[in-house]
């Protein structure tokens, strides 16, 4: 319900502007720490935060950008957490089974550096 309501609150404004808005399209640098000295590349990373939907109603907490970013930061963290990401973008993923059961995920992608 919150997800739907939140969307409805602002959809009019977006459509009026004849442009679509995504959270992050291609942010060159997004750091988790103050230290952004050139680091060792950890390759492409992906993090997500998901919510299950039953008959259109979310089960559990709404997805947040912060949780998706933290998931990306700790992806493949056998060598430690990432210090920063380059070329960050967000997108939506998930599935919908006949509007009965669905999962919506906010996905963060980028290139990680330690």
């Amino acid at each position: 319900m919150l997800l739907r309501l939140g969307g409805l609150l602002l959809v009019g404004g977006l459509l009026a502007g004849c442009q679509t808005v995504t959270i992050a399209k291609n942010v060159k640098l997004l750091a988790f720490e103050d230290d952004v000295q050139a680091g060792k590349g950890a390759g492409p990373v992906r993090g997500e935060d998901c919510v299950w939907m039953i008959a259109g109603n979310p089960i559990g907490k709404p997805v947040t950008l912060d949780k998706a970013l933290q998931a990306a930061r700790s992806a493949n963290n056998s060598k430690g957490d990432l210090r920063y990401l380059n070329n960050v973008k967000t997108e939506w993923d998930g599935f919908n089974f006949a509007n009965i059961v669905a999962q919506n995920c906010l996905v963060v992608k980028g290139t990680g550096y330690r």
């Binding site: 919150l2 997800l3 739907r4 309501l5 939140g6 969307g7 409805l8 609150l9 602002l10 959809v11 404004g13 977006l14 009026a16 502007g17 004849c18 442009q19 679509t20 808005v21 995504t22 959270i23 992050a24 399209k25 291609n26 942010v27 060159k28 640098l29 997004l30 750091a31 988790f32 720490e33 103050d34 230290d35 952004v36 000295q37 050139a38 680091g39 709404p62 997805v63 947040t64 950008l65 912060d66 970013l69 920063y84 380059n86 960050v88 973008k89 939506w92 919506n104 906010l106 550096y113």
Partner: protein, 130 residues
């Protein structure tokens, strides 16, 4: 497409719903350093905090970060902040939903200097732009 749009709107609007009437602005994201122009700083250098500023973007505004139809919310706010402050990096950046269709990014202009050194002269005034 419309479904994705609504989800994107929801992710930035939900914090507002939870904060209710407690504040005019709802925090969406906080990051130590962000940039739309530079990927990092060379080894031995660091980014320290300069003058504070605020960038503002309302969804009906003309975007300056891209000429394409799809606009990145963070991309746009950081671009505006960097343009206003003439800084390559923004530090202590906090993204807020400012009510209605408007979003704001509070930041401190990044000042590049030797790592472990006190900050140098701050760049130009980092005041807001809408």
């Amino acid at each position: 497409m419309k479904s994705k749009l609504m989800k994107t709107l929801a992710i930035v609007a939900v914090p507002v719903l939870f904060s209710g009437c407690l504040s005019d602005r709802a925090l969406i994201l906080s990051v130590p350093v962000v940039s739309m122009t530079d990927s990092n700083v060379p080894k031995g250098q660091a980014v320290s905090q300069g003058k504070a500023g605020t960038a503002r973007y309302c969804l009906s505004d003309k975007a300056i970060s891209t000429k394409e139809r799809t606009v990145g919310l963070i991309d746009e706010l950081v671009t505006r902040g960097q343009k206003a402050s003439k800084a390559k990096f923004l530090t202590d950046a906090q993204l807020f939903h400012a009510g209605g269709e408007c979003y704001e990014l509070d930041f401190k202009a990044g000042v590049i200097g030797a790592a472990g050194e006190k900050k140098e002269k701050a760049p130009a005034e980092g005041e807001s732009e809408s």
